[in-house]
Amino acid sequence: MDEIQTTFFQECEDLLEELESGLVQMEKGDRDSETVNSVFRAVHSIKGGAGAFGMESLVNFAHIFETTLDLIRSNNLDTTSDILTLLLRSADALSDLIAAARDETECNQDFIAAVASELTSLSARSHKAIDKDGGELGLDFVPVPVDLGADLDVHSDALNGDGLSATTFIITFQPEKALYDSANEPLLLLRRLSELGEATITCDASALPDLEAIDPEEAYLRWTIHLRTDKEEEDIREVFEFVDGLCHLEITREADPDVTIGDDPLGEDSAVSDLDKLLGARAPSLADHKGPKGIANPAASSTQGANQPNKKLGAIGAGASEATIRVKLERIDRLVNLVGELVINQAMVTQGAVNAGIGRDEGFEQELDGLKQLTREIQESVMAIRAQPIKSLFQRMSRIVREVQATTDKKVKLATEGEATEIDKTVIERLADPLTHMIRNAIDHGLETPEIRRGAGKSEEGVVSLTAAHRSGRVLITVADDGAGINRPRVFEKAVEKGLIAKDAQLTDSEIDNLIFSPGFSTAKEVSDLSGRGVGMDVVKSAIQSVGGKVSISSRPGAGSVFSISLPLTLAVLDGMVTDIVGQTLVVPLTAIVETLRPSQAQIHKIGVGGMTIAVRGEHIPLIDVGQLMGFRRQPADLESSVVVLIESDDHARVALVLDNIQDQRQVVIKSLEENYGQVAGVAAATILGDGRIALILDVDDVIRRAVAASSDSPPLALTG
């Protein structure tokens, strides 16, 4: 049971995503009935599942939500922006309720109740307008023939004179026995058909045998429907979607639409009374048919409109979107680990072949290369399994925007781009908190109030944009606002106040901007409800760094700020340059390397005690002796026999590393050092080499930071351990 419930909650996540993206589509002006249907189906499926587990509050809310959506679906409610906002909030409430049911916690009842009552009153208002319209399809079987007549009348009335672009379809519908066997009801189909437009239904009962010869399980009737509608043929086919293969169905377009207008050659009354008779004749057989099998269920009436789309979900899901399967994350992780081992093993085999002196054999070398290629491809495919579109994360952010908007008087629009960008699932999960905080900040601190915006000649509604894109082997996410930008004098003042910088410090604009990432920094004059939660941007920064990401900011006064987050595609592998230093092997991430060079004495300049720079095309770059920095040796390196690797951090700081030798470039598997040991200065992680030994992976940013820090307080270059 627990397992089924877990599956239900997993499905709920998918459904919520579908719901939300449908609503966002609608917000963008999408009026496609399929979008509305998908939204409706999502809510309905959640309701259905919740009902099965007896989650009452969830069912109740989903029901109210569904009722409103049904009105929209049947075009009885216009999707104005107010209504869409309400629907989006309802989606939030639904998601809260699901989370509460899953974690067995309480959720904000006030919020739920408020949304529910808004939905109810909205539905009630619209219901009044369409009350006669068969909104409540009373499906007690006996009065049906009468109901049908009434339905058709109402529709004909409503639609008369409304047929500007209408066409007339002639539909012949002949159910087979199987249709009745699977508890389908032609009446419902006919009724739905008549909802599409002006329908004239005639029944051909010529096949009906005498009463004594009737086989109550057999199908005898055939209907011909003249339907005048502005809908397309697909819409008509959709009505019959669930009886596809269970009936004879022919739909033809009538050549001259005027033929049936206002003049019904068969006469509606006669059609209805024919139908009446026939259905009357049919009724007992149906009752017999359904009763014993326990399919006739009064409750079915209220969910009639809903059950069918639910079935449709399966059909469409299989057809329209790509086939997917649900796999436990730990299985994928196991695969990822195994492939990691494979990569290491492949390196070992190659190494072993070289050691054994057979690596030079041409044929064998080719095979080895083939193996290497294959290994890499397997690795990439496995990583692709873990990758997910960032869309789910962006959707969560749109909720944050709505919530924040509700508590401030600011008007905000969230614009997203690149939602299909794929990134490792772990990264997505760990990005949610920092991104939430950044969005909150952007609205709370970044955007101005509508009055100020108007004064500044901007539109009252501020725009927070969230984008994602692949950029040279990394994923770049930006959070931008079109607000006031960073108030640099204020930041400076505050930093001085907090003792972060000296009063007379000379800082560039970008340095000032980056002060907001300093620990213990918060510029909001009053600690507001939203962002002033004691979490500063430094926490955001370290959260992003913990997934191997970098964050930077650029800001223009009056035009807004842009936070850029650069993330690795995966946390499992890295392209690196394998180098030697004092008998140790060190891997330098390839993405950080600008160039490698053999230094000549003329390029080296000594500054102070132990400080050195290297001139590269006129630029003087600090030279770092990695052997000393890491504490591997006390003596400075012999520059004559060294190689220099120029590296650059994300904020474009450059240093030159002095290393003994460069071995190779290769893909390495990242192994955590923290798991069994802890963080190590200057080291990002470890990897396992072809010979089975461990090599450390250099933490470029940390090394640069340390180098800069070391050069500012003279004289020591090496950090003491």
Binding site: E341, M630, K671, N676, Y677, V680, A681, G682, I694, G721
Partner: protein
């Protein structure tokens, strides 16, 4: 004597792994020992405390290697092929200790273990959980919980 021990084993006996370090004998509770393996060349860690020798690859896992001798304030070992690494699992962490040799696996009754005498040495107090006397051999029982290269020592060094 043997009978007595076998009898005791049923209720409160401890199984211990005894090992040599700088000509002294120590022992640890066998339940935290995961495996014992020969010396493997380690990879040094930058700016690590002197008792952290580095890390090795244990079937795909990065395992730190601690020089127990140095950790206990004894002279650091100069590892050779004859040295041995005892791999421990302590809580969630897997850690290897390099020792001179593993000498024995012993069973001791609870009353064979006495609390550490007050010798005034902080290291002794921190790492020695008790003194075990079995078969006329006396050795220190190392308490592993406190000997971990915990966050404190590693971070302090960085």
């Amino acid at each position: 004597m043997t009978d007595h021990r076998t009898h005791k084993k049923a209720d409160d006996a401890l199984e211990l792994v005894a090992f040599c370090l700088s000509a002294q004998e120590f022992c640890v509770n066998i339940t935290s020992v995961r495996e014992i393996r020969g010396w493997t060349q380690e990879t040094r860690l930058p700016l690590a405390p002197d008792y952290v020798r580095g890390v090795i690859n244990l079937r795909g896992t990065v395992v730190p290697i601690i020089d127990l001798s140095a950790r206990l304030g004894l002279p650091p070992v100069e590892p050779t092929a004859r040295h041995v690494i005892i791999i421990f699992q302590i809580r969630q962490q897997v850690v290897g200790y390099v020792v001179d040799a593993v000498s024995d696996i012993l069973t001791a009754a609870a009353n064979d273990i006495q609390p550490t005498p007050d010798v005034g040495s902080q290291i002794a107090k921190d790492f020695v959980q008790g003194v075990v006397t079995v078969e006329e051999r006396t050795m220190n029982l190392i308490g592993l919980e406190k000997i971990l290269p915990g966050d404190n020592s590693a971070r302090a060094a960085s």
